[in-house]
Amino acid sequence: MTRISVRVDGASYDDDVEPRTLLVHYLREQLGKVGTVVGCDTSNCGACTVHVDGEAVKSCTVFAVQADGAEVTTIEGVGQGGELHPVQKAFHEMHGLQCGYCTPGMIMASIDLLGENPDPSDDEVREGIEGNLCRCTGYQNIVRAVRHAAADMRGNGSGPSANGHVAPAEVDTAAAPHVVGQA
């Protein structure tokens, strides 16, 4: 057993962990932070993505002991003062999730992406989150959500406008433009 000190979502923990314990298992099993989930064994799916000292990591590829002394943020800690993070809001607003299993990791990866690139194009979003798999959405609404959040975080509430064809869901998803009327 190894002693670690770690801050997770704003609270401090001192714990004994087995050296082989993965960060994700420490978070889930010792801290009860079950908002962060496990989707694969090979670091392909990204469902377990959290931030360690502000950077997105797949918490299944990090040992808990490597997080000693670090500040960890999970999906449970991204909201501030009872308010959702703009990326959380955007996933809801743009229907960027269905079953929701990939969502915590997808949101954490997206926040990291927007930290590096505050105004990504569609393709930059697609490449930026390619380490995170979603089986439900086909990604299009995730891309919308990330760009919507980007606009929101830049202080432009009207949504993304710079690159490509992303539009707020109301416009792009309304059946109306293509509906020929009830038969």
């Binding site: 799916c45 449970e76 809801h92 299993y101 393709d123 490449e127 439900c136 086909g138 059946a175 009830q182």
Partner: protein
């Protein structure tokens, strides 16, 4: 007919892009996945699995595992042989179908890699997994049966040596014999043109994101099971039948479930084992799979070899269709394994007016994990075959593939239309959907670009693929299921509880795992009862709360389950009307119900809200004689027909003839799913279906090596596409309401997955057909595409799927038009 009445004063909920109620917990990590559950004294299971595909178990020594730290018990197949029963198969598709039985844990023989041979029970998951390594099993190898075409030969090695052959069943539908069409042999004898093809539907893995997980808590002689399942109700019945735990002593809960796509539709060996271990030890237990366990042992989908013959006259009028399938069952029959191809049997004729049709299917055992439902279940296979063969016929006749389709499809004025397979297609307009899809794609410009590239001999060729599809969904009319020998009905149940404060609880037998039932059902009830959307709570997935249900699969939830909700709301209104008449001192006949209020016709101001009535009847101080003091109601809806969504899907694809790389330039589709309750959810379902259908065409393939090892057992090798692997989708809708349900909705969950695969493959072939290529095996890896172009044939067997991950190059915006690379 319906309680979805016109609401005058307030905006209707149906049709509104409501943001989902489910999201609040999912975007904040406040979820209830089964693996999150921790119970006092809970033990953890790990499964020792066979590393060989086919062998007799000579000896099992678990003594070392038993001694390992933290290990509480180790149980082998022998230990559980008397109580494990057989996993159920609910669909004996023919009277003489052979079902070898499906043990949850192997006793004497293993029949696929990954089959359970022992269960470790330990204090922690890590301890259980560590001890797996210590179990010592001797296997005496048996010949491995993998190839269906070899497996049906005389003298072939047998998967189950106590059976006569590897064939489980031979199912035939012959329209001539059924009286729904002409004689097929005659049609082919008389045909001007016959085109015959052999298509391969590769084996796929549903690959839901949440690994399966089971928790069982024993309480005296009662058991509560939490499971990541699509079917808590069916699971409860089946577990009772399999294990002998009486049904009323068993409660099954599907909490938040992270996707299913058919992959969580069958009772699993691990659910049975968890229940048996909990019963034996009297302790709560949990089993959660790893991803590699999931890919290796959760059931797979598709896996058919299709022999398709189409007959036509010179003008392009189709005159007959013959289908012969070999369908890989895997080693055992799970819940609907044999029925999947049969669900497709009635769809191979697609949207076309074939006068003659014959379908035959052999279900074949191999030493692989069983197949069962995967998104579309039978209909993607059928749609692929017909949409591919229509292109082949068009090529043979020298006709435009769209013209050939137009010439043969059912015209809008011909609905309802009874097909050669005996189904009555409910409503639709293929021409209008096609026109809109062509506009969305920018068809004419792309055809022009295709011509330019062809003339200039551009190494990057462009193709446009068409798929005009329909499917049968909304499973299902119970009597039809009965006629197909299915072991259950297809109804759905709902109940509505009117709480004293006016809030409404809706209990549904449908079981969502991402589909947004809580939101959509709230919209239905808000419109029906005239209560605020926010006042409705939807309860599901717990057999103690939702007493009756048949769960979620086959694009049935809204069409069947939503209809039950609407019917229950009708009954609530009818009951409330009597109370309202009593309290308003008016005749029931003089009451109008709108916007949640009963008002007395001709008496302005005299009105009573349904939420007020809920409180009045809770108090029950004043209500009519002879009735119960309740306005709660329940309903069971059994559809009389399937619903038949349809649409036109178009894919424009670039094929690099020098490297074999394919890239989707643009994808456009127009789907008709009837009434749209929530356009956000509908669009999301289409997107997700497209992703999976495109993934079948381009990326995914479960590959077994010659020894029967799954070589695509991780997400490194089994290519679930990432965002950068998929294009933008341009989607649209036409709306022809379904006459068969009060909402007017058709299923949408599987449409994108069913329609898109042939559109993508047809697009690739359209790009290179002039180079002599007439088929390329899925998935269209660069290796296969290159081989098909440069070496002929269909690109061959078992190309590595990995190399195709860059097929959609996201650095080029997928929806831009024009411009050669």
């Amino acid at each position: 007919m319906t309680a979805v009445e016109e609401r005058t004063g307030t905006e209707k909920e149906i049709g509104k892009a409501r943001r989902r109620k489910e999201d609040a917990r999912l975007i904040t990590g406040r979820t209830t996945w089964t693996d999150n559950m921790v119970l006092p004294g809970m033990l953890h299971l790990a499964v020792v699995r066979s590393p060989v595909a086919h062998a007799r178990i000579a000896h099992v020594d678990v003594s070392a595992a038993q001694e390992a730290p933290g290990v509480v018990a180790v149980l082998t197949g022998r230990d559980l042989a008397e109580e494990q029963g057989s996993l159920p198969c609910a669909w004996p598709v023919t009277p003489d179908m052979v079902n070898p039985g499906h043990p949850s844990i192997a006793v004497d023989q293993v029949n696929h890699v990954g089959e359970a041979v022992a269960v470790i029970v330990a204090r922690s998951k890590a301890a259980a997994q560590d001890a797996v390594e210590l179990a010592d099993v001797d296997y005496e190898p048996l010949p491995v049966v993998l190839d269906m075409e070899q497996a049906v030969q005389d003298g072939a090695d047998l998967v189950h040596d106590h059976l006569e052959s590897n064939t489980s069943y031979h199912f035939v539908f012959d329209a001539g014999e059924a009286g729904t069409g002409a004689d097929t042999e005659q049609a082919f004898a008389d045909a001007d043109v016959v085109v015959s093809r052999r298509f391969v539907q590769q084996r796929l893995i549903p690959a839901f994101m949440e690994p399966r997980s089971v928790v069982v808590q024993p309480q005296g002689d009662n058991y509560t099971m939490w499971s990541a399942t699509q079917i808590p109700h069916i699971l409860r019945v089946m577990l009772a039948m399999v294990t002998g735990v009486p049904e009323h002593k068993l409660r099954v809960i599907a909490p938040d479930v992270g996707g299913g796509f058919g992959g969580k539709i069958t009772p699993t060996p691990e659910e049975v084992l968890s229940l048996l271990v909990a019963r034996r030890l009297g302790k709560p237990v949990k089993w959660t799979e790893t991803r590699s366990e999931s890919l290796m042992t959760a059931h797979h989908g598709r896996d058919q070899i299709q022999f398709i013959d189409i007959a036509a006259d010179r003008e392009g009028n189709v005159t007959g269709l013959k289908v012969r399938l070999l369908a890989d069952m895997g080693a055992y029959l799970r819940l609907v394994t044999p029925g999947v191809p049969v669900l497709g049997a009635f769809m191979f004729n697609g949207i076309y007016k074939f006068p003659a049709y014959r379908f035959e299917c052999d279900g074949i055992f191999t030493n692989k994990v069983p197949t069962d439902a995967y998104r579309g279940a039978g209909r993607p296979e059928a749609t692929f075959a017909i949409e591919r063969i229509m292109d082949e016929l068009a090529a043979e006749l020298g006709m435009d593939p769209l013209e050939l389709r137009r010439k043969n499809w059912i015209r809008a004025e011909e609905f309802p239309f009874t097909t050669v397979a005996g189904l009555q297609y409910d409503s639709g307009d293929y021409e209008t959907a096609t026109q809109q899809a062509l506009e969305l794609l920018g068809y004419d410009e792309l055809r022009e670009e295709q011509r330019r590239r062809r003339e200039s001999n551009d190494p990057v060729q462009l193709g446009i693929g068409i798929s005009t599809f329909t499917e049968m969904c909304g499973l299902a009319p119970s009597r039809v299921l009965g006629s197909l020998s299915f072991g259950a009905g297809g109804w759905e149940h709902a109940s509505i509880r009117m709480l004293p404060t006016g809030k409404v609880e809706v209990v549904t037998g449908s079981t969502p795992h991402g589909q947004g039932h809580e939101t959509a059902w709230s919209q239905l009830v808000a419109d029906s009862l005239g209560v605020p959307f926010e006042d409705v709570e939807v309860l599901h997935g717990d057999t103690a709360i939702s007493s009756r249900g048949l769960d979620t699969y086959g694009s049935r939830s809204l069409v069947v389950g939503g209809s039950a909700v609407v019917k229950a709301a009708d009954k609530v209104i009818a009951k409330a009307r009597r109370i309202a008449a009593h309290l308003l001192e008016a005749s029931e006949d003089d009451l109008d119900f709108a916007d949640g209020k009963f008002s007395v016709r001709g008496t302005p101001g005299a009105s009573l809200g349904i939420q007020e009535i809920a409180l009045a009847i809770f108090a029950a101080h004043n209500y009519p004689e002879g009735i119960e003091p309740s306005i709660d109601a329940e309903a069971t809806f059994d559809p009389e027909n399937f619903s038949f969504p349809h649409g036109t899907h178009l894919c424009a694809m670039e094929v690099d003839t020098e490297t074999g790389f394919v890239k989707i330039r643009k994808y456009a589709c127009v789907d008709d799913v009837g009434t749209i309750v929530n356009p956000l959810i509908v669009e999301g379902q289409v997107h997700g279906g497209l992703a999976q259908g495109i993934a079948q065409a381009l990326y995914e393939e479960a590959v077994y090596d010659a020894d029967g090892n799954l070589t695509t057992g991780t997400f490194v090798d089994y290519l679930v596409p990432a965002a950068s692997d998929l294009p933008h989708f341009d989607t649209g809708n036409t709306v022809h309401t379904a006459p068969g349900n009060p909402i007017g909705a058709k299923g949408v969950g599987e449409a994108g997955c069913i329609a898109s695969t042939p559109a993508v493959v047809n697009a690739a072939l359209d790009a290179v057909r002039h180079l002599g290529v007439s088929d390329i095996r899925m998935p269209l890896t660069p290796e296969r595409v290159w081989r098909a172009i440069h070496a002929g044939g269909d690109g061959g067997d078992r190309a590595s799927a990995r190399t195709n991950a860059q097929a959609v190059d996201s650095s080029d915006a997928p929806s831009t038009t024009g411009g050669a690379r």
